[in-house]
């Protein structure tokens, strides 16, 4: 820490303490601050100070006291972010929301949960399940990411194909603006059209517009049963046709995950069942709902694909369901064995464009001589694209960067988007102008300007800053 900063920080912490912060909520020691400067992108920067507020009011206090000194604020949830959203700069304060982790209310009549932002997604799901209720969004990180982070990134998961993403469940918010004032938006009403829909604006704003301190979440009745099946097809296009056929036949899966042939090869040996050699694409399909409806839909699925698919396995119980999911679960560690490093992008395209994307990526892989492994959410068009490489080889690293440029170009050409789930943060901001026109970005900047005129709230995210480099 540079010397002139010290007196400033001492003064600030004295004021925080006078305003009710306990010393355990203020982290100043060098070594401890350093533990709040990274996220799952493995970038790291040490904030000047870390605060652990325990109420919305404490967030207000902290932001007001920081505003007096024009200090930057970086909101942080569980820091499981995959786009560097919570990475601070050295002259900024981290506000970590992990201690604001109370479930304030589960309103069973209106089926709405009111929570603080630090509640872990999976904890809410477990709690509401006791009342026969269900909070569907299921990012793979649900057992450790926070609802605040989910809202800020508009997180989604495999169930998006039927249930949608986080945005579809946020009914209302309380949030602290950079001037320290709290705003409220939304309410418990299903129909609510008074004024601008600020709730929708804040969802997915990546901590750049306000610090979320309270969240109202819609709940739905818990499905009575779930049926899981695994289907193998000889090609990606055959699998895509199969998905279309499902919808046409009134089968409405809650999840359709796919594995491409590289993924299949990576896990094949470790699976508790055997896959035919000709299997090029595997679909993992889940159908949920009332027992009768699940039964009827599964029978239809069976009838439709018994002959067309190379393989169709239906899980009969929890144990078999878990076995089928091993194919998907073992994937990440298994592909990690293919090369020392991977560049991982989470592009999304309209569902029908999946075969085209996969075919184009296949060509790209041949051209740059690096394996590209694809898997993800076939139901909603969200594809995890993994370029496998050895970054210690500068020549490979260069090819990797080039691959990313081309992956984005292909995606955008096919009507897709840079990120389906992880957000732009600081890792993809350099590409924003590839997707959006100057006028669109100017409109986005105007919103940012209106909320945060001094650019002190999570600066350096979403918008390309002069000299900002893509980070992989």
């Amino acid at each position: 820490m540079t010397q002139p900063v010290k007196p400033l920080l001492n003064q600030l912490t004295a004021e925080l303490k006078a305003a009710g912060f306990a010393s355990g909520q203020i982290i100043m020691a060098d070594e401890s601050r350093a533990c709040y400067g990274y996220d799952a992108t493995r970038q790291s920067a040490d904030p000047m100070l870390v605060l652990l507020p325990e109420s919305g009011q404490q967030v207000e206090t902290a932001i007001k006291l920081a505003a007096k000194r024009k200090l930057k604020i970086f909101p942080r949830g569980a820091a499981s972010g995959m786009s560097g959203g919570s990475i601070p700069s050295s002259d900024g304060i981290i506000i970590s929301l992990t201690r604001m982790n109370r479930i304030l209310e589960i309103d069973q009549e209106n089926m709405i949960a009111t929570v603080e932002p630090g509640v872990v997604t999976g904890e809410l799901q477990e709690e509401v399940s006791r009342y026969g209720l269900f909070y569907p969004p299921d990012p793979a990180s649900l057992s450790f990411s926070t609802l605040g982070g989910n809202v800020a990134e508009n997180a989604g998961g495999p169930r998006a194909v039927k249930y949608g993403v986080t945005a579809d469940y946020v009914m209302g918010l309380e949030a602290v603006l950079i001037n320290g004032e709290t705003i409220k938006c939304g309410n418990k009403c299903v129909k609510s059209v008074s004024g601008y829909d600020l709730t929708s604006l804040l969802v997915g704003s990546e901590g750049t517009l306000a610090v979320i301190t309270k969240i109202l979440l819609k709940l739905v009745p818990a499905p009575e049963s779930v049926k899981t099946s695994l289907l193998a097809f000889p090609s990606m296009s055959a699998a895509a046709l199969a998905i279309t056929a499902m919808f046409k036949n009134q089968i409405s899966p809650s999840t359709i995950e796919f594995l491409d042939h590289h993924s299949i090869n990576a896990v094949r040996e470790t699976l508790p069942f055997s896959l035919p050699a000709a299997a090029d694409t595997v679909l993992l399909v889940e159908i949920d709902g009332s027992s009768t409806s699940v039964m009827a839909q599964s029978q239809k699925l069976k009838k439709l694909f018994e002959n067309k698919a190379l393989l169709l396995i239906e899980a009969r119980d929890e144990g078999e369901r878990a076995q089928l999911w091993t194919a998907r679960r073992r994937l990440s560690p298994a592909i990690a064995n293919l090369a020392p490093h991977k560049i991982n992008e989470d592009i999304a395209v309209p569902r029908a464009a999946i075969p085209a994307v996969i075919a184009r990526l296949e060509q790209l892989s041949a051209r740059i001589a690096l394996p590209i492994v694809c898997f993800g959410h076939a139901g909603d068009g969200n594809i995890h694209v993994n370029v496998m490489l050895d970054k210690n080889d500068p020549e490979q690293a260069q090819r990797g960067v080039k691959a990313v440029d081309e992956i984005f170009a292909i995606t955008l050409e096919l009507g897709g988007t840079l990120s389906g789930e992880h957000g732009i943060g600081n890792t993809k901001s350099a590409y924003l102008d590839k997707e959006w026109s100057a006028a669109t970005i100017a409109a986005m900047r105007a919103i940012k300007q209106a909320f945060d005129p001094e650019n002190r709230l999570n600066p350096g995210k979403i918008f390309p800053t002069p000299g900002s480099q893509p980070c992989h």
Partner: protein, 424 residues
């Protein structure tokens, strides 16, 4: 190939999955306390650097000290980072710099001292304990009579028995018709819970095995390893390995202590043909025989199960103890919510971090209460002591028992009733 701790450290990708399971993080909400944060501290604070020559930063000490070594993070880490190894190595470097905590130092010296041994000290204590401690009415264990520093009236310590396991075994008759297996009872069973050891030996006998308990077995070394005392750990390992070598004709070693089993399985230099088995693993190997022995007998009280961390996460054993309880109790065996969550004992952690340990325990106690069980079974003396304290704190009426003692009672008593006599 074994990696150095520095190489292990590099495997962490900072995904944060360890946050989902770390009991310390759950209670503190502080990043420095979770495995990811601890690893970051270990990476960032180079103890050899001149800046840290004089003192180790307080944040580092607090975080590295606040670990139960419960392996929960390791179970949930898709990168397979050996987090507890890294933490033990960090503690080792710390103690090399600062010296061991004096209490631990003298306790470890006792573990290694052949003449003035732990056994003798605890036996001496068994005569004096009634001055300071009184027996708990409904549970096994003692609580203080008079105010004592750092110990409140809800702290449960085990009653020190006058007769230790070895005393009972000295009177044992040889049984040439039984097949010998080595039994590693571990310190807690030997000196504190001899009945548990006798019950295990009894069950082995029923199955046709003779539990050989060499008196020269030492402490397994888990506690010295966790404290960062690698020298004592090596010494204890060598002594135990020598005992195993001496009994070259017996290649199976069973233990009823999850922590000892976890430690023994990690020994370097364990003979390749030697097998360490938790008692639940061993019993499962003799499934048919045991099923026949139990016959139609069933425990008529509701029983639930707590996974000892060193069994579930340390040794990946989850199914065998459940099979055993199912056999003992049938439908009276019920799962509690989150049986996998740590109870907060963590060796000496419960004493050094009492408040934090009790917060962790309180959740476990609530889950046990909610199961509606009268008995919570767990194959680890450390967990049993902690759970007993949990019942006392929450004024719950269930008792904590080793699955093998429940099994032994069932086998001894035709009606499945338990009118056992605690050994004094």
């Amino acid at each position: 190939m074994t990696l150095t701790w520095q190489q292990e450290l590099k495997k962490c990708v900072k995904c944060g999955a360890c946050m989902a399971v770390c009991p310390i993080y759950r209670q503190t909400g502080r990043e420095e306390m979770v495995a990811r944060g601890k690893l970051n501290l270990i990476e960032r604070v180079d103890l050899e650097k001149p800046a840290h020559k004089k003192e180790i930063p307080a944040g580092w000490l607090e975080a590295i000290d606040s670990c139960l070594l419960c392996c929960s993070c390791e179970e949930n880490c898709s990168k397979g980072v050996k987090i507890t190894e890294i933490i033990a190595a960090a503690r080792n470097r710390q103690s090399a710099k600062q010296g061991l905590n004096p209490i631990k130092k003298s306790a470890f010296a006792l573990l290694l001292n052949r003449f003035f041994s732990m056994a003798r000290l605890l036996k001496a204590g068994s005569f004096m304990q009634w001055l300071l401690w009184r027996r708990l009415p409904r549970h096994s264990g003692l609580v203080r009579r008079l105010p004592l520093p750092g110990i409140d009236d809800k702290t449960v310590i085990p009653a020190l028995p006058r007769q230790q396991l070895d005393d009972y075994l000295r009177k044992r008759k040889a049984a040439p018709n039984l097949e010998p297996v080595l039994y590693f009872p571990g310190c807690a069973t030997r000196y504190l819970y001899p009945q548990m050891g006798l019950d295990l030996i009894y069950v082995l006998e029923q199955l046709g095995f003779y539990g050989v308990v060499p008196p020269e077995f030492n402490c397994c070394g888990l506690v010295t390893w966790g404290a960062g005392d690698s020298k004592s750990t090596m010494e204890l390992q060598q002594r135990n390995l020598a005992v195993i070598q001496k009994h070259a004709a017996i290649r199976q070693i069973v233990t009823g202590c999850a922590s000892c089993g976890h430690a023994l399985k990690e020994y370097d230099g364990l003979p390749a043909d030697c097998e360490i088995l938790d008692i639940s693993e061993f019993l499962f190997r003799h499934k048919e025989k045991l099923e026949k022995l139990v016959g139609s007998r069933k425990l008529n009280r509701k029983i639930t199960y707590h996974d000892p961390c060193h069994l579930r996460k340390g040794q990946k054993i989850t199914a065998q103890p459940r099979w055993l309880l199912q056999l003992i109790a049938g439908e009276n065996f019920v799962e509690m919510r989150h049986p996998e969550r740590c109870c907060g004992a963590g060796g000496t952690f419960g004493l050094s971090h009492k408040a934090l340990s009790r917060k962790i325990l309180a959740e476990k106690t609530r889950d046990t209460d909610a199961s509606g069980a009268e008995i919570v079974a767990s194959g680890c003396p450390g967990c049993l002591l902690q759970l007993t304290e949990g019942a006392l704190l929450a004024e719950s009426s269930w008792e904590a028992r080793h699955p093998v003692t429940v099994l032994a009672d069932l086998l001894k008593n035709d009606a499945g009733k338990e009118n056992r006599k605690e050994v004094e």
